[in-house]
């Protein structure tokens, strides 16, 4: 394993970890966190893959920046929906997932 892709592999690992959490958990908050971990993993992957010795590349940085904004936005939305759901139904997980 080359050290160039070290971050990338960490990213892959994070992604896998997140996916695992996403699948096994029913609690919506946990799923949201798992998703965020996956998100971080993929950003790491994006940046890490560019570290292949071709010198600094502005594009992945820009992408990740945008990605983080989007992730924040979606997390915010998810939190809103989650809270509403909790208030309406009193449940912390989706109906058929229990």
């Amino acid at each position: 394993m080359s050290t160039d892709l070290f971050f990338a592999w960490i990213g892959v690992a994070l992604c896998g970890l997140g996916l695992f959490g996403f699948i096994v958990h029913h609690h919506l908050m946990r799923r949201l966190l798992a998703f965020n971990i996956m998100g971080s993993g993929s950003f790491l992957l994006l940046v890490g893959l560019a570290q292949d010795g071709r010198g600094p590349d502005p594009v992945p940085q820009a992408l990740v920046l945008t990605g983080i904004v989007i992730a924040v936005a979606s997390t915010a939305l998810a939190l809103v929906v989650l809270r509403r759901w909790y208030r309406v139904s009193g449940e912390s997980s989706l109906p058929e997932d229990v």
């Binding site: 979606s74 989706l94 109906p95």
Partner: protein, 488 residues
């Protein structure tokens, strides 16, 4: 203003409208949006004229050129889809504005405008990362729209939709990262130069495909769709079914055409086709089993999406004729389904409103009081069933021809069987038009504008069947000929 510059207005107008409606007080939002609609058309007209005049348009947004800048590409396919979006959205907006809803759903308007902006962005984007941004924006707006009703059911559906959308986007994003690593570029045009046999590219493509399939709700990843589409407001359901699921499909289609050189693609295409077939049958079957009208229509979307995915086995490694037919057929299917399904959801909304119940069984006798709504539903149903003369039929005909030309006769069974199955569920609703018997005699009438909106959409899906020739010629891209060279 040149056509290329006008291209960016197709994004700017909806975004501005979204912000404006967000700031405006609730009761102004609807009519304000209707007032903004002509602006959007005004932006579209010069683009279309320019395209007809000089072919594919390209605009670097804000003067930045790729790779850092965002380029908008207005090819035939993109402009066709923009036109479709505008058309469907205009009528849905008319429907929603005319809707005398006692509850305040005025948040619909900014969300819808964001949705339109995202859609136009996706149609016009030329690089995979822009597509990602569009996809996310689309997903967020759509989830917001689904959650709009605020009921537990709607919130659960929205939550599930959100999770699926996020998962799909992430998979797509990882794919983008891999592709960028392999190609050093994000533009689709550059990706086409990649060696398809490369493992990185394969993994990237697989990830993106699965993510997009999840967002398109291809069987068996469709679990989130029925509740989301079936439970939303009628105008929202119409937008979601007609346009939103198509966005991720179009991305997959563009990717596939760009990265088609892989010998394994044939196997993958067949696998995707099989999933499409499963969608057709499972969706049709489940639609038939629904007791609630809008859920039936939602499952019908699951089934119809299956047809779209027959595109992949029919275009991959099949030769020029079959590929051309598959391209035409799939796009026509997409258009016809968009129009018909939007019309169907709006008509279903009218019917539900008229009888005050979501159950299909309560529709008995409605035909005598709301014939127009039922007629719209029926006309849209004709296209959904793939019966002539309708866009659905012509599309099915083209797909049949493509399957025959490529010698893949098993897809015939899917096309035929799916058509029959859809007839079963469409007529499950339509038969209530004719039932006479002990029925309620209090019907609330939906506004005429809402009925006309549904009828217009349904009728245009019929007209599409006879007017397809010009449209298809317009949308047949240079990209396709490149693919055909590759395949040929």
């Amino acid at each position: 203003m040149s056509g290329g510059e006008a291209l960016s207005w197709l994004l700017v107008v909806p975004l501005l409208a979204a912000i404006a409606t967000l700031l405006a007080p609730g009761r102004w939002r609807g009519w304000g949006s209707l007032a903004a609609l002509p602006l959007l058309w005004l932006a579209f007209t010069p683009v279309l004229a320019a395209f007809l005049h000089q072919g594919t348009l390209t605009t670097p947004l804000g003067g930045w050129s790729p790779p850092l800048g965002i380029a908008l590409i207005g090819d035939g396919l993109a402009l066709g889809l923009v036109g479709l979006t505008l058309g469907v959205f205009s009528l849905c907006a008319l429907f929603a504005a005319a809707d005398p809803d006692p509850e305040d759903h005025s948040h619909l308007w900014p969300l819808a405008w964001f949705l339109i902006a995202a859609l136009n962005g996706i149609w016009l984007s030329g690089d995979v990362f822009n597509l990602y941004v569009g996809l996310e924006l689309l997903g967020l707006a759509a989830v917001g729209l689904v959650a709009l009703k605020g009921s537990a059911e709607a919130l659960a559906a929205a939550m599930r939709y959100l999770l699926a959308a996020l998962l799909g986007s992430l998979a797509y994003l990882i794919g983008v990262a891999l592709l960028y690593a392999a190609a050093g570029s994000l533009a689709l045009a550059d990706l086409a130069q990649l060696d398809g046999g490369d493992t990185t590219v394969r993994v990237a493509l697989a990830l993106m495909a699965v993510g997009l399939m999840l967002k398109t709700a291809l069987f068996p990843l469709h679990g989130w769709l029925p509740a989301a589409h079936g439970g939303a407001l009628p105008a929202v359901s119409a937008l979601l079914s007609a346009l939103v699921v198509k966005a991720s499909f179009i991305i997959l289609l563009r990717l596939w055409l760009a990265l088609d050189a892989d010998p394994l693609a044939v196997v993958a295409a067949q696998a995707i086709g099989l999933l499409g077939a499963g969608a057709v049958f499972w969706g049709g079957w489940m639609a038939w089993r629904q007791a609630r009208l809008k859920y039936l229509v939602a499952y019908s979307t699951v089934a119809q999406i299956g047809y779209l995915f027959l595109f992949f086995p029919l275009i991959t490694g099949t030769g020029t004729d079959a590929a051309r037919l598959a391209w035409d057929g799939t796009l026509l299917m997409l258009f016809a389904h968009a129009l018909a399904k939007a019309g169907m959801f709006l008509a279903a909304g009218n019917l539900v409103r008229a009888v005050g119940s979501a159950q299909i069984a309560d529709l008995a006798g409605v035909g005598r009081f709301r014939p127009l709504s039922l007629l719209s539903f029926g006309i849209a149903g004709v296209s959904i069933m793939g019966l002539p003369p309708s866009g659905g039929f012509t599309a099915k005909w083209l797909l049949l021809q493509s399957a025959l030309a490529s010698g893949q006769w098993p897809w015939l069974i899917v096309l035929m069987g799916g058509g029959l199955l859809s007839a079963v569920y469409v007529f499950k609703v339509l038969r209530h038009a004719f039932v006479e018997g002990p029925t309620r005699d209090t019907f609330r009438s939906p506004p005429t504008a809402a009925e006309l909106a549904a009828l217009t959409l349904a009728l245009s899906s019929l007209v599409l069947g006879v007017a397809a020739h010009g449209l298809l010629a317009l949308m047949r891209p240079d990209a396709l000929s490149a693919v055909l060279e590759g395949a040929g």
